[in-house]
């Protein structure tokens, strides 16, 4: 189950997208997410899909790999789709016993699930095309210009980067624990939901114990390497904007303008998207 999540897994190809300044990519993704909640019409969504497709193509990351990040979300997407479709009141298009699909419901379900898919794909392409270290560097740089959270910028970024560093380690460990518990006769596959949830306890308890021990040892090792917070710290790689970043920001501005404008155009198509 954990192996399918590509979020936070770097896929290096050395493409233009990979070489962009992490701040550019973070800002772009952030703006993209906001824009996804601004659009309310097919044209807007087409632009959103188009820009994402462009980024994926430029990143040279295989589409299958990007799509794999969606796998754990299929359930949620389908649920969103179904719930919105059947639960939204409005002009009834189709009815069977107590089930009905309204025009508004159809529109909402398509838009909501599309929004989810784009949101997750958009953020995973960022994490796929940005090394975890760059990502945290970018976040740190971004946060340290925001007055309220400036003080926490370094600490948060450090926590993030450590979390990213330990995701693979802890996943491996989870795998080992599952195998060890299975060898002791634990059963994770059968039983009802509650029984299965209970079966997770023998996995989670050793995992947490080990995570705490790791944290303790890591803290000691960091102090032994003279770590004392963000003050006076230098970086091996100092962030600097290049020409490609300027282009990216221009593209972002154009996309944003187009997506916002698409709200104010009245469309000729009647069904079901007006």
């Amino acid at each position: 189950m954990f192996k399918d999540i590509t979020l936070g897994q770097y896929y290096p190809t050395g493409s233009v997208i990979h070489r962009l300044d992490p701040r550019t990519k973070i800002n772009f993704t952030f703006a993209y997410i906001i824009l996804l909640f601004v659009v309310n019409n097919p044209v807007g969504y087409l632009i959103a899909i188009g820009i994402l497709a462009l980024v994926i193509a430029l990143s040279k990351i295989p589409f299958v790999y990007v799509a794999r990040g969606l796998k754990p979300l299929i359930f949620i997407v389908v649920l969103t789709f179904v719930l919105n479709m059947f639960m939204t009141p409005g002009q009834v298009l189709w009815q069977w016993k107590f089930l009905h699909i309204s025009r508004q419901g159809l529109k909402l379900s398509i838009f909501m699930s599309l929004r989810l898919v784009l949101l997750v794909t958009g953020t995973s392409i960022m994490t796929l095309a940005t090394s975890p270290m760059d990502l945290t560097d970018g976040m740190e740089a971004d946060m340290s210009v925001i007055p309220g959270i400036k003080r926490f910028a370094h600490d948060l970024a450090m926590m993030m980067s450590i979390a990213l560093r330990f995701i693979p380690t802890l996943m491996e460990e989870t795998d080992k624990i599952i195998k060890a518990q299975k060898a002791r006769g634990a059963d994770f596959e059968t039983g009802n939901l509650i029984e299965r949830a209970k079966a997770l306890i023998p996995i989670l308890v050793p995992l947490f114990v080990s995570a705490f021990r790791r944290a303790d040892e890591l803290a000691t090792a960091m102090e032994a390497r003279c770590y004392r917070g963000g003050a006076g710290r230098t970086r091996m790689y100092v962030l600097s904007y290049q020409k490609a970043d300027t282009i990216a920001y221009v593209v972002l501005a154009a996309t944003a303008a187009a997506m916002i404008l698409s709200r104010f155009i009245s469309y000729p198509w009647p069904f079901p998207f007006n």
């Binding site: 270290m133 021990r213 003279c226 004392r228 091996m236």
Partner: protein
């Protein structure tokens, strides 16, 4: 010449030994008040001179890690003092200089790598010390070369073997230009291959780069090349000497629960059966020589 000075290879500029420990005692605080605090270390005296390779052995809980943590200023001793190049580890102002001078490599290779990329992990210590960017890059190249990991500069830690991770950890310490490295069982979690890699790296640093090494281990065989071995038991130093001197004290080592190298033990058993063999046989070759002459 007394036993201590016999092993001096280099002299530090100040004439100070790299590590000096005097009458050191420490007990971990206990939560339960009725419980008697157990002495983790009692009255330790130890001097390590520049360029030396000193090994520490002792069974589980004998206080080896506690000693290394005191030397790094992670734990403050209850009584007695530890000096790193003349800096007292109790001196809070000197703590970063102390940690920079006596770097530390720990047992678990995973739990000491901070960064998701090898090169930035190696750079971590230097970044903390405020070294400028271009100097960091140069040094990273240099130390990765020293531990033979140049090809893995952009690799991610979880793709590496245990031995490789440990060499990256060593590189990260080397980058801070220490005069001495304290190794706390760096090979304990590795397979024989990884153990070999790491030991080769440690010996190379000691022999060819003049690095002072304090090597804590459970494996006697790793200390055959040490200048001096310190045997700890129950928070005390029970013996100090050359590998030959230490390994020949088979009865004493066995009594405190330690193994001796196979050939030394064989010689010991044969001697008990009345064979006339020297006490300090370490290798198969020496055993063959002794038996056939």
């Amino acid at each position: 010449m007394n036993e201590q000075t016999a092993y001096i290879k280099h002299q530090s500029p100040s004439g100070e030994p790299i590590i000096r420990v005097e009458n050191l005692s420490y007990a971990y605080p206990v939560e339960d008040e009725n419980q008697e605090p157990k002495q983790a270390l009692s009255d330790i005296n130890l001097t390590v001179n520049p360029g030396e390779f000193v090994g520490i052995i002792g069974h589980n809980g004998s206080g080896k890690s506690t000693l290394s943590k005191i030397l790094n200023g992670i734990i403050v001793p209850d009584s007695g003092d530890a000096w790193i190049e003349g800096m007292n580890t109790k001196d809070a102002e000197k703590i970063w200089d102390i940690r920079k001078t006596a770097g530390m490599v720990f047992q678990n290779p995973d739990n000491q790598l901070v960064s998701s990329v090898v090169e930035t992990d190696v750079a971590f210590g230097m970044e903390n010390l405020g070294v400028p960017s271009d100097k960091i890059k140069e040094k990273v190249t240099e130390v990765l070369d020293m531990v033979g990991m140049s090809d893995y500069r952009k690799a991610r830690p979880h793709q590496l073997s245990g031995g490789q991770k440990q060499r990256i950890a060593i590189a990260g310490i080397l980058a801070m230009k220490p005069d001495c490295i304290i190794f706390d069982e760096p090979t304990a979690m590795l397979d024989p291959n990884g153990r070999g890699e790491v030991m080769k790296t440690i010996l190379d640093l000691n022999r060819n780069h003049g690095m002072t090494v304090l090597h804590i281990t459970h494996y006697m065989s790793e200390l055959v090349n040490a200048d001096r071995i310190v045997v700890m038991d129950n928070g005390k130093i029970v013996a100090v000497g050359t590998p030959r001197e230490i390994f020949s004290k088979v009865a004493m080592l066995k009594k405190i629960g330690l193994d001796v190298p196979q050939m030394t033990e064989l010689a010991y058993l044969l001697r008990q059966d009345g064979y006339d063999l020297p006490q300090d046989i370490l290798t198969i070759r020496e055993m063959v020589e002794a038996l056939c002459h």
